[in-house]
């Protein structure tokens, strides 16, 4: 059953009691909360994702709750708990949904070491995955959102999850957090895209979430082999350039980009060298999204 198949009351009841078992990509997340605004957004953004019936083993146990004490009434806050631990300071109550998203990202980055984890967006076309590794500020999320709005399948905006045993990328499609100017950029670029409410004053400025396309959510169980490694660099006013890079350079950039390369040891080395061996490799400098997408489409169609 999909989350949208539950009534609002059923959803609230599960969240408030034993927890809602939400399936997102390869992970099952048990979510508990009694915050109405969070419940509404969870239903909106994860409506097309499966919910598991209990009993089921959850990979992550998450609670999004209001701390007790005076903070229940005065400047109310929200707290994120993962497996009973609170890794972050509380946020203001209205930021419960972005807190959940960041908290879950943190949990995955800390725990999902069955995969090589790249800090990258990943999208698929014609059966091959385009990996866009980048640190914040390179335009990764914006480019990913634009590609998805033009028909590429969303694997993830945040994680390239590489299976250790066969090198396939595993989808983890979730809402894409657009930040600051990117929100209006994507509103203009993809007027039909569903973008949620803007959360102002977060640690990353203003954030609004782009809904995962139904087709991407429906294929969240289908992995694919990597085809291209493209390191994006957004520069205002930059002329588009797609520059091939050699394998040693790509290897260094990818190993440094990974969340858990060192922790995986030899498995990490083998996973990164396999990616470098099998993918075409480029640095993409761009400022115009249409140009960037035309170029990447041509790359995929070649």
């Amino acid at each position: 059953m999909m989350l949208a198949g539950l009534t609002g009351d059923e959803c609230r009841q599960r969240l408030a009691n034993r927890g809602l078992l939400l399936k997102t990509g390869p992970f099952t997340v048990r979510v508990r909360s009694d915050i109405e605004g969070f419940t509404r957004l969870l239903r909106q953004f994860y409506g097309q994702f499966p919910v598991m019936e209990t009993p089921a083993v959850a990979d992550f146990h998450v609670r999004v709750l209001r701390p007790g004490g005076i903070r229940r009434w005065w400047r109310p806050q929200v707290q994120f708990l993962l497996d009973g631990q609170s890794p972050f300071q509380p946020f203001q109550l209205s930021h419960a949904f972005p807190l959940f998203e960041w908290g879950l990202n943190w949990g995955i980055a800390m725990q999902a070491h069955q995969y090589l984890m790249l800090h990258s967006a990943a999208v698929e076309r014609a059966g091959k995955v385009l990996i866009l590794p980048a640190w914040p500020g390179c335009g990764k999320s914006t480019l990913c959102a634009a590609l998805v709005s033009r028909g590429w399948r969303l694997f993830s905006d945040e994680f390239g999850l590489v299976r250790i045993d066969d090198g396939q990328l595993v989808p983890l499609p979730r809402p894409t957090p657009l930040k600051n100017k990117s929100i209006d950029v994507i509103r203009d670029f993809a007027p039909d895209a569903t973008i949620g409410p803007a959360f102002h004053g977060t640690r990353k400025g203003t954030v609004a979430h782009l809904q995962t396309p139904d087709a991407s959510a429906a294929q969240a169980h289908i992995p694919a082999l990597p085809g291209w490694l493209v390191f994006p660099r957004y520069r205002a006013g930059a002329t588009l350039q797609l520059k091939p890079i050699d394998k040693p350079q790509a290897f260094l950039k990818l190993a440094n980009n990974s969340f858990n390369y060192r922790l995986l040891g030899l498995q990490g080395f083998q996973a990164v060298t396999r990616l470098v061996r099998h993918c075409d490799r480029y640095i993409l400098s761009y400022s115009d999204l249409d140009e960037a997408i035309d170029t990447l489409n041509q790359l995929a169609d070649a």
Binding site: D246, K247, P248, F251, R262, G265, L266, F269, Q270, R277
Partner: protein, 102 residues
């Protein structure tokens, strides 16, 4: 303490643990993962050949230099032996080689 060039060239060298080294070759560059230290190294082909020679058995810089010159038309000059000696010290600093106790 200063060590004379002659003393350097008679010092034996070996790699730390051959089984711990995992290689990936890309043209004239190599990626090397050392499972003993958890470190990854990007090496030019010459460094890789030096390490691979040492994996056969420990050698002095002299013997190593002569082995590297084999099949080449060039004579094995003293300057080349010194170059090999310096490289072995650099590889030692990277945790890939060590001196053999005589």
């Amino acid at each position: 303490m200063e060590v004379s060039q002659q003393a350097q060239s008679t010092t034996g060298w070996k790699i730390l643990e051959e089984d711990a080294l995992h290689w990936e070759k890309w043209g004239e560059q190599y990626a090397l993962y050392d499972a003993l230290s958890g470190e990854t190294h990007l090496l030019p082909e010459f460094s890789a050949r030096v390490l691979q020679q040492l994996s056969v058995h420990p050698r002095t810089a002299d013997v190593l230099a002569r082995a590297l010159c084999e099949g080449s038309d060039e004579t094995c000059e003293q300057a080349f032996v010194e170059h090999v000696s310096q490289l072995l010290v650099q590889l030692q600093a990277a945790g890939l080689t060590e001196k053999v106790q005589s």
